[in-house]
């Protein structure tokens, strides 16, 4: 009985403050900017690009919270399409690709330039040229980094971030 009560007490705060995976992903995506150094955009806004729409997912959250979060990071929410990349669009620092869009990811990553940080939602994304995947694990989100992809990028990932990240493939 005592153990049950203790468990309840431990779970209650967690439950009260539990956030959705989307929210966690949005937060992680936002924080990734602090651990990534882009040579070309020093001092100017970071562009968080989202494929096709921002009606749902982290893009919507970052857009909704921009007025608050812009105090901590100068950023822009940009909606792009595959065509934009075909037309050599190169204003994105981060491109978030949702799980449903992963099939298009390979096409984009192959065309993209070295300065775009591709963020996906599962390990397969990393096999398709993605840079980092935010994968749910229990109630949290784990960071997985594509070992080979980060070697050819023009931006730098912080060793602190790499210190907590999981490399894939191992």
């Amino acid at each position: 009985m005592y153990k049950l009560l203790l468990l309840c007490l431990l779970l209650i705060p967690h439950t009260l403050y539990a956030r959705s995976i989307t929210e966690i992903r949005a937060a992680y995506l936002f924080k990734l900017a602090s651990y990534t150094e882009f040579e070309a955009v020093k001092g100017s806004a970071i562009n968080f690009c989202f494929l096709d729409d921002i009606d749902s997912g982290p893009g919507k959250l970052l857009s909704d919270k921009q007025s608050v979060l812009s105090q901590r990071l100068n950023y822009q929410i940009v909606t792009v399409s595959i065509d934009d990349f075909n037309n050599n669009y190169d204003s994105c620092q981060f491109l978030y690709i949702k799980k449903q869009q992963h099939l298009q990811a390979k096409e984009i990553t192959e065309k993209s330039k070295q300065h775009v940080f591709f963020v996906g939602e599962n390990k397969d994304f990393l096999l398709m040229g993605g840079t980092l995947a935010l994968i749910p694990y229990r109630s949290k989100v784990q960071i997985h980094v594509g070992r080979s992809q980060i070697k050819n990028k023009s931006f730098k990932l912080s060793s602190q971030l790499l210190g907590i990240a999981h490399f894939y493939p191992n």
Binding site: P13, Y17, I24, Y28, K31, A33, S34, Y35, T36, E37, F38, V41, K42, G43, S44, A45, I46, S70, Q71, R72, L73, N74, Y75, K140, V141, I143, S158, Q160, L161, G163, I164
Partner: protein
């Protein structure tokens, strides 16, 4: 009050001093170095824990940001080899609610878990030291990228480290053990060195002491101090040898001098004996001479007496001879006139005129005879007065100044006739036990002498009589302003028959009589004061004690 004489040997004093100084030095050195070392160790430990806290905070920023407890715990376990760390807590600061929550922890080997320390957390690095425990709180700063507009860092959590100072205590004990062993070792070495020094110092000193004792006991100054390896003691030995050598020389000189002195004493004794004999002889001769001088003196006194007697007899004869001679002459002349008258009567040639002439001459001769016989009688009477009788009157208490005034008044009326002035000065109440008649006779003779001998015929003289009192006597100063006493008779003014008016009526017995009255009748004294003043000055002192009453 008892006194304590505390003696100590050089050996003990040296060893005690060295051990004491060494011990104090070691203790002080160990204490200071240990204190400094412990302080440095403590500072190092705090600095180390601070550095570790900063590192942990830096490393915890990312796991905290990405909610990665697993990585965080793995990182914290890497501090297992840091003995000073007992516990590490990582706390997260919720950016929305501002609430601090426990995030991760680490517990060192053999250390118990501790409760959350949320109440101690601080946005500034903080160090809390409590007895054997150190607590460090360090804020975890969120990593902000180059594109962040934020100027100040944002705190997203806290590191709490509890460290232990037990390692310091262990270090302290180890340090003390080592220091103690080192100190013991140093003391042993110092003791051995001190003992060696003692032997080096005390042996020469003992040798010198033994030498001095031997010399003082046996007076053998020929002994020499041995050489010593220590310079100061060697110098001391050299000085002692010099002292002994000089003392030996001094003793030899003293013995030589004593021999000379003894010889001189013998010579001196012989001379003294010789001189003593000579002095005895001279002394005997002096005694003989003194005896002869006594004899001569007695003879001189006798001669003086005889001369004085002869002089007095001559004086008496001279004084009496004149009136008696005149009397004899007058009576012889009267007898011749009577025989001539008898012859004329028998021859019937006597005339009335011759008878009348005889009667006139007879009367004249008889008056001459009478005057001279009367004069001789007066002289004899005055001679008789010289022998003063002391039995006729008893002393009485008398006021001296009024007495003198009465006498002066009587005398003035009798023969001074107001030609001279007489002042009697003194205290009227002064009383003395004395005889009145001698005083009256003395004053009478002095006044007569002043009038007859002192003052000229046309001179108006001044006579002053001063009476002063002293403790045992009364002094009468008799002073006139006449011609004074001639120098030729000053020394014998009180001798009989001394006069400057011989043949003019002076007998020379007045002052002699005054002298006898003062000295015999009144038991006093009289002197002629030879002062610079013009005139005669006699000072009479009359006793006022029992001497007068016994007269």
């Amino acid at each position: 009050m008892p006194t304590h004489n505390y003696n100590i040997t050089i050996r003990k004093a040296l060893s005690r001093a060295v051990i004491l100084i060494t011990s104090l030095s070691i203790i002080l050195s160990v204490a200071v170095s240990t204190y400094l070392d412990m302080d440095a160790q403590k500072s190092n430990t705090i600095q180390k824990l601070n550095t570790l806290a900063e590192i942990i905070a830096f490393n915890a920023a990312t796991p905290l940001l990405f909610d990665d407890e697993k990585t965080q715990n793995r990182q914290l376990k890497s501090y297992k080899n840091v003995d000073e760390i007992q516990n590490i807590h990582i706390y997260r600061l919720d950016e929305f609610s501002g609430e601090v929550r426990f995030f991760a922890s680490y517990r060192g080997f053999n250390n118990l878990s501790i409760a959350t320390q949320i109440n101690k957390l601080s946005n500034e690095p903080k160090v809390i030291i409590r007895e054997e425990m150190i607590e460090i709180i360090y804020p975890i700063i969120e990593n902000i990228g180059a594109n962040s507009p934020q100027s100040s860092p944002k705190i997203n959590g806290y590191v709490y480290i509890r460290g232990s100072l037990e390692s310091l205590e262990a270090h302290f004990k180890q340090r003390l053990t080592i220091d103690f062993l080192v100190a013991i070792g140093i003391l042993v070495i110092v003791l051995l060195v001190t003992l060696n020094l003692q032997r080096r110092f005390t042996r020469p000193i003992e040798a010198l002491s033994s030498l001095v004792r031997d010399v003082s006991k046996n007076k053998n100054y020929a002994l020499k101090a041995p050489r010593a390896s220590i310079t100061e003691l060697d110098q001391l030995g050299y000085n002692l040898n010099t002292l002994f050598s000089r003392t030996l020389n001094q003793i030899e000189r003293q013995q030589k001098n004593e021999l000379e002195i003894r010889k001189l004493n013998q010579d001196l004794e012989a001379k003294v004996n010789h001189r003593t004999v000579a002095l005895k002889e001279a002394n005997q001769e002096l005694l003989n001479t003194l005896e002869r001088m006594h004899q001569y003196q007695n003879k001189i006194v006798e001669n003086e007496k005889m001369a004085s007697l002869g002089q007095m007899v001559a004086g008496v004869a001279h004084e009496v001879n004149t009136p008696i001679g005149l009397g004899v002459t007058g009576s012889t002349l009267l007898r011749d006139k009577l025989e001539e008258l008898k012859l004329q009567f028998e021859n019937k040639t006597l005339t009335s005129k011759q008878m009348e002439h005889f009667i006139d001459e007879g009367i004249e001769n008889l008056e001459l005879i009478y005057r001279n016989l009367n004069r001789a009688a007066e002289l004899v009477s005055s001679f008789k007065q010289v022998a003063v009788s002391t039995d006729s009157e008893s002393p009485k208490e008398t006021q001296l100044v009024p007495l003198l005034n009465n006498i002066v008044d009587t005398m003035a009326n009798e023969f001074l006739q107001g030609a001279h002035k007489i002042n009697v000065e003194g205290d009227d109440s002064l009383t003395i036990a004395t005889k009145i008649t001698p005083i009256q006779q003395i004053l009478e003779h002095l006044l007569k002498n002043s009038v007859i001998h002192g003052f000229k015929d046309d001179q108006s003289g001044l006579i002053t009589i001063k009476v002063t009192d002293s403790k045992d006597s009364v002094t009468i100063d008799y002073i006139d302003n006449g011609v004074g006493v001639p120098n030729s008779i000053k020394n014998r003014i009180f001798d009989p028959f001394v006069t400057t008016r011989r043949g003019e009526g002076g007998s020379g017995l007045g002052m002699h009589l005054v002298y006898n009255l003062v000295t015999q009748a009144l038991q006093g004294s009289i002197v002629l004061v030879d002062d610079a003043n013009k005139g005669a000055h006699f000072r009479i002192e009359l006793p006022r004690t029992e001497a007068m009453n016994n007269v």
